[in-house]
Amino acid sequence: MNELKSGVSESMELGTLRRIIVRAKRWDLFFVVLGILSLMIGVLTFAVLFADMASKGLPRLNWEFFTSFPSRRAANAGILSAWVGTILVMLVTAVAAIPLGVAAGVYLEEYAPKNWITDVIEINVSNLAGVPSIVYGLLALGLFVYQFGFGQSILSAGLTLALLILPVVIVATREAIRSIPQSVREGSYACGATTWQTVRDHILPYSSPGILTGIIIGMARAIGETAPIITIGALTFIAFLPPQPYVGDPPAGLFDWLFAPFTVMPIQMFNWTSRPEAAFAENAAAAGFVLVFMTLLMNGLAIYLRYRLRKNIKW
């Protein structure tokens, strides 16, 4: 290292320089430790909670648990009506929120004139994301349940949750669209494309990873929502499934299930945790395990889709 020495500025001796670097690097060390600690608090808390739930609930997780209706006897009770309800409500939520949210996001980014009306709408959309979910429940009770006469049904619940996650989908859509470089847009317009062709052939395909991620994150939030669903009147004890299309006598219509009463996973859990018997607490833990698993599955899907779809897009 002797040759290097001559290259070092003479105003500062090499030893001094190294001491300064070591001192400066202490802060790096400090932040690494702090960061790992903060991470651990989050990760460990979740791990402990999850392990506790798993240890209580796993023994209850057998085939019958998924195929049985709730029951007064804890050992016989299952989550059939709850998981079917959750999936059907989520289906309605997705069908309603995805086209509305994506269309609104695309309109705001690609079509809307840049003026104060658009600004007001934008601010409102971001504010909607912060409205407590129970408020959506109240709104939906008045609007969907009574005004539109949908009743305390899967349809009402799905639409309520759709309203709840609409801002999330809109914001995710807009952010995904904004990450597309302007040069790609100009390339498309320069080919003679209309705005719609540009949206259909470029904007939507290239922003779909981000949009999908936003949708799934929104859905993962909706799946655990309890307050607005209780507000609109989900049942806490239900021992039948929504009517299957074209089954039964007289055969049910294709969309009759939309108007059926229902329950969902978090409500089933809530119901069981409020019982005094320890056996029901085990049921609640098992249902919680299933719910967390469903959420993780959705997040996993989001990560996978983002990875798959982004593979072709480099900028």
């Binding site: 790609v184 847009r185 317009y189 080919c191 062709q197 072709n312 480099k314």
Partner: protein, 265 residues
């Protein structure tokens, strides 16, 4: 360069005619009473110091400015021949203009699609669906852009996997595929190395046999090598327009002379 040998026809056909064009970015007056001709099947170069309005003028030709709020064309116009259409007139649809006049950008901007789809895009927006016709025209465009030999075996690969120079030729193929009347180039080689630059220059020289070319360049040697006419702009004004060889050898204006001899800019 055989400056004195290349005979330029005395009266070349007019392809487009810029007349007293004023353009504003909001309140900023970017083009001031610009007037210049663009001759058919010739390459016309726009030169001038950075910020003088070359790109601004070029982007008037395909109404790119319409994409952004606050931009205004004011007075004058760009008349396209032979049909005598003012491209900037209110009744003229910018989409129609862009279908007739295509553009190659400074930085290669292939779509994140396959090589085939990149070129086919300008045909698809024109409603072409027939697979074999698409195949033929994509091949012709890639040949026209001197890229066919390199990519014929891997048309389904991503355009972004090509080298920078290949990507730019892909963008040229995209611009060529629709048989435009005029192609705009905005400093198409400024992001490329000398070898890729040479191949693009050669390509442009070949292209002008078939199509009218308007090219912005920072590089005066490039303007001298590939263009038939050159326009020198300064601060939003057209200072001088002339046959390239004459403009470089014997500029009429002092300002032009200072710029091309490197005393300024």
């Amino acid at each position: 360069m055989d400056a004195n040998v290349t005979p330029v026809p005395v009266t070349p056909t007019l392809k487009a005619d810029v007349r007293d064009l004023d353009f504003y970015y909001g309140s900023f007056h970017a083009l001031k009473k610009v007037t210049m001709p663009v001759y058919e099947r010739k390459a016309t170069a726009l030169i001038g110091p950075s910020g003088c309005g070359k790109s601004t003028l070029l982007r008037c030709f395909n109404r790119m400015h319409d994409l952004y709020p606050g931009n205004r064309y004011e007075g004058g116009g760009i008349v396209l021949h032979p049909d005598n259409t003012n491209l900037l007139a209110h009744g003229v649809d910018p989409i129609e203009v862009r279908m007739r006049i295509s553009m190659v950008f400074q930085k290669p901007n292939p779509f994140p699609k396959s090589i085939f789809e990149n070129v086919a895009y300008s045909l698809r927006v024109r409603g072409l669906r027939n697979k074999s016709e698409l195949d033929d025209r994509v091949e012709a465009a890639l040949k026209g852009a001197a890229l066919w030999k390199e990519v014929s075996g891997r048309l389904s690969e991503l355009g972004a996997n090509l080298s920078g120079g290949q990507q730019q030729r892909l963008c040229i193929a995209r611009a060529l595929a629709s048989d435009p009347e005029l192609i705009l180039f905005d400093e198409p080689t400024s992001a490329l190395d000398p070898i890729a630059t040479a191949s693009i220059e050669e390509l442009i020289t070949e292209l002008k046999e078939k199509v009218t070319i308007l090219i912005v360049t920072h590089n005066m040697q490039q303007a001298a090598r590939i263009s038939d006419y050159t326009a020198y702009m300064y601060l939003g004004e057209m200072i001088e327009f002339g046959i390239t060889d004459q403009l470089f050898i014997k500029p009429q204006k002092k300002q032009t002379e200072d710029y091309i001899t490197g005393r300024f800019g």
